[in-house]
């Protein structure tokens, strides 16, 4: 291995360290969300395994993360045709030993040496384990066995530089026969629920999928639950964990206070808590990331415009619950200005965490926080929700209890809620500290300092065209217009004051707006739907002519969307709110027939 390559690998290792640290303790900086390692829904035959290996090798690159965007998927598909049988795993050397899996299993402790397999490769990592960025405890879970399921879970491994490091410890490989007949590696996603096939899947494991454009265009305010976009960071908790009859929420009021437990029955007891319904958007802060990829590749799922949906959430006011367990109702609200520290936070923990087989990572749970003052503010309408569109919340959306924080990035609406903690600091989870933050365009992964920016909470104003679809043929109305519709939304409860559409970026036509009744302009949680008839300039009204349609919105605070995507481009690809533009083509008119007295003529 060349020295320079080794140096590069070590640099990458340093980045990984902070990334691993992020899952258990406050790190200075780290990377990425946990992405999808593979698209195949199960691995049950040798041929699939080969396909997977070839596809994965083709789709991963140093520092690029593991999310398969459409283009990458295409590349991966091409690779599938030419599986590189001999290079299933890194570090292959001509003439290396064939090792039996039974021998690997014997090396499962520091005393006996630690061997693992990755795909068909066998590695003696005894000398490495003390340096494992994720800690000794975690790596020992794989000792004497396959590390594949762990790497699928902790996706930070899925970069070339980490594979290079592994390759250095290679001591041989399993025979093709034995590898083909090994039981498939444990799939932590095997208990995930079934999903609606119309969802636009961006990643299978963890499952991430957006609401189809058709639904965005056709729905009234509420997205049908089975078409509601899904953003999972980890496997969906299942079984007794989410059993409504045994579920209990733990509330930690402060370091010196005993935690309080409330069962679902407690929360649903209408003599204790008033029921509350709210029609609210949830939106991933990476929505519209695809547009950023058109400027330059960013990290993350390639969402189009559908990582946003709206539901009626029913539950109890978080404020009421905090009051009931004795959190002083003015603790966050009335704190005086005494610097950053005057802010108290409400940390939330989910039940979703890395698991492999029976083992569960006790530190890597999903977590987030919001300012305590927001949790206590009656006008922010934060909900502990147990119903979605009138039915119990389904598994994918946080059963049995989800904290719905309207107006705020979806990442803070913690699903499968297990614990609330009143604290003097924000959640120290990876997702709060080192992920959902928007750098300026000039910052690279090498210069990114996550501690320099606030966590995304209230989201900026955004809008998108849901109809017509991009790249479609559109028919002009008799007066030369294109009929358009879509959504607009802004964070913090700010309603939408204006939506405008244009075919040239200079002449704009106001759209008609509608939002659900009952939401005032300072407390709008649902989206505003818009429709417009956009007059197309005379010179563009020709069949086959390409026309760029665009939309921009202003919220009640008159925050506006910037013109370009370039100006909001950032390494993490979040908060993409430049004007939404799509290209459509004018459809040739149906041939009109002129009516004559005795028949028709063309």
């Amino acid at each position: 291995m060349a020295f320079s390559r080794r140096l590069r690998a070590l640099g990458s290792l340093n980045r990984l360290k902070s990334s691993f640290a992020a899952q258990s303790a406050p790190p200075p900086k780290a990377l990425r969300e946990l992405p999808e390692p593979f698209n195949a829904s199960s691995i049950s035959s040798p041929s699939r395994r080969l396909l997977f290996a070839g596809g994965l090798a083709g789709s991963l690159a140093l520092g690029s993360g593991v999310v398969l965007c459409k283009e990458r998927k295409d590349k991966a598909a091409k690779k599938e045709k030419e599986p590189e049988v001999k290079q299933l795993a890194p570090g292959f050397k001509e003439g290396e030993k064939v090792i039996a899996f039974a021998d690997v299993q014997k090396h499962d402790s520091i005393d006996k040496g630690i061997w693992v397999t990755y795909r068909d490769g066998v590695y003696d990592i005894t000398k490495f384990v003390q340096n494992h960025p994720g800690g000794l405890e975690r790596i020992l879970k794989a000792a004497g066995g396959q590390i594949d399921p762990f790497w699928a879970m902790y996706a930070q491994h899925n970069v070339a530089s980490v594979k290079d490091i592994l390759g250095e410890y290679r001591i041989g490989h399993l025979s093709a026969d034995e590898y083909a007949n090994l039981p498939p590696p444990f799939d932590p996603y095997q208990t995930d629920p079934k999903r609606d096939p119309e969802l636009v899947v961006q990643a299978a494991k963890p499952f991430n999928a957006e609401t189809p454009l058709r639904v965005l265009a056709e729905q009234e305010y509420l997205t049908p639950t089975d078409k509601f976009f899904v953003r999972n960071h980890l496997p969906v908790p299942s079984g007794s964990l989410i059993d409504p009859s045994t579920y209990a929420l733990e509330i930690v009021k402060g370091e010196e206070e005993d935690p309080v437990k409330l069962t679902l029955k407690d929360l649903q007891d209408e003599t204790r808590f008033k029921r509350k319904k709210i029609c609210a958007i949830i939106q991933c802060s990476g929505n519209r990331r695809e547009d950023q990829n058109s400027v330059a590749q960013v990290e993350g799922l390639t969402w189009y415009t559908g990582a946003i949906s709206c539901a009626e959430w029913e539950g109890v006011a978080l404020k009421d619950v905090l009051d009931s367990v004795g959190v002083p109702s003015t603790l966050g609200m009335e704190s005086e200005l005494e610097g950053e520290d005057d802010q108290l936070h409400l940390q939330m923990e989910g039940m979703d965490r890395p698991k492999v087989g029976e083992w569960r990572d006790t530190k890597g749970f999903y977590g987030a926080s919001i300012p305590l003052a927001w949790a206590q503010d009656p006008r922010r309408d934060v909900l502990l929700a147990f119903k979605m569109n009138g039915e119990p919340i389904p598994a994918d959306h946080g059963a049995p209890l989800r904290c719905v924080v309207p107006g705020v990035a979806g990442a803070r609406s913690v699903k499968w809620l297990s614990k609330l903690i009143v604290a003097e600091e924000e959640s120290q989870s990876h997702w709060q500290q080192n992920d959902y933050k928007a750098f300026c365009s000039s910052i690279t992964w090498d210069t990114a300092d996550f501690s320099s920016l606030p966590a995304i909470q209230d989201m900026p104003v955004n809008s998108a065209i849901s109809w017509p679809p991009a790249k479609s043929l559109v028919e002009l109305t008799s007066d030369g217009c294109v009929e358009m519709k879509g959504w607009a939304w802004s964070g913090g409860g700010r309603g939408i004051s204006r939506v405008e559409v244009s075919a040239d970026g200079h002449n704009w036509t106001g759209a008609e707006l509608s939002r659900p009744p009952g939401q005032s302009l300072t407390r709008t949680w649902a989206w505003t739907q818009w429709q417009a008839n956009l007059p197309i300039p005379e010179e563009l009204r020709k069949p086959g002519k390409g026309v760029k349609l665009m939309v921009k919105a202003a919220d009640a605070q008159y925050n506006v969307q910037p013109e370009s995507i370039e100006s909001v481009w950032n390494i993490r690809g979040v908060l993409c709110n430049g004007w939404h533009r799509i290209l459509v083509t004018i459809k040739p008119k149906a041939v009109s027939r002129t009516r004559f007295e005795h028949g028709y003529a063309n």
Copy 2:
């Protein structure tokens, strides 16, 4: 008068009607802030009077408002050299009668006929008064006398079309001698306070002036009180009105409740109300309007970047005062979502109102409102302030009591506060309903529907360069950088997360940020000051080369400024928050002297 011209004049009259209505009752739409009718500080001699008339005639045009921007001032100055003596007032006809002012004074009622003078013209407006858009009562105040002071106060008259209408009623003129010797018209601004000569005056009457760029660049967080920008809509209240020893604030809790009065002594009684200090920006929503004028002329004062200043305000929490007089503390905070009407409002009235001589317009006071929930929200920090930078608030800034609403457009921080009203509707004042709203760029005065948009409250993110000054010569540092500094700010308490500067709009350099201690990112009322060393591209580092410097900011919610001014341009010229750009020129380097052993050589 040609028919078409007459039609145009009548159209304009219709616009005026809504404008007048705005000063007393809720109108469907109306126009403009009250602008500055003339710049001369008093009119005491015939020659000045002539100058004024000529200057004014030159500076006004149909529908353009009356504000003298720099360019217009230049034009007006040119006109001064060629006074059109015979056309002091509209409607002059060769051979018309000379009328004595004593005769005018006899015609002061509907029975006797109503004559008025405007400059040297005499008009019989008996047939017009019933049609006066501002109502009969107001126009009768001028009967038998000069309308000049009224037109100076109600600046809606200062458009050519209104003068055309007046011209139709002309019956003669005063003799040049009599006109020259008339006592000067009453100046409603004569009791305005003295101001610091360094303020950059945008209009003299009412007084509007911005903080000098030098101060913006040099100050720490607080703007010295005498350099604090001034935005007056009307004459400054004076005398007993603002006497701290007799002052009382009236609070109307609801239609069926008796009003409560609190003297300044009551408010300052520390056994009743806890003192509160806050370091907060006040910014006019028209700040940076000049940039919009560079796209196309808009209505309003031509503010550069200095209609923003920061002071330490001291007073009592508005919330505490509302609590103390029995407004339920949760009235606005906990109201459930029941449509627009769920919002209660806190209306504010100022003591500033049109006055001519002893007469005061009882309906035309300055007024504004904010959501009641904001007034009651401890985290919005709304203050009833009686001190500014440690001293009693001076006359120009609202003595003796100003409502300081941090994070919100300056127009809602009502000065010379006389009354608070808890109400189910917003303030119906002109300035709340028909002025400070931001239309989309395609809306013209003919298509503007003020009721379609929310009043500006929380302001969008903005930033500006305070150093170097625009059009200046700049010296490069030894490593080819320009040293820059300026301010950034966003409404609603959102701190600033990023400021970036650039010389090309594509490559950006992050700026160092500083804000006063004690303000958290969700409760930042002061501005964030920034400084940066911007590397200038090699090819531009040449003496005499023009370089465009630009700045953009993102707030804690990651709202960003749009690239262009065009995209936020609006008829009223408000909320101009496109990237701030200035042009500077690279200064030739000082000739360097090389040190030799026995002296210096160039």
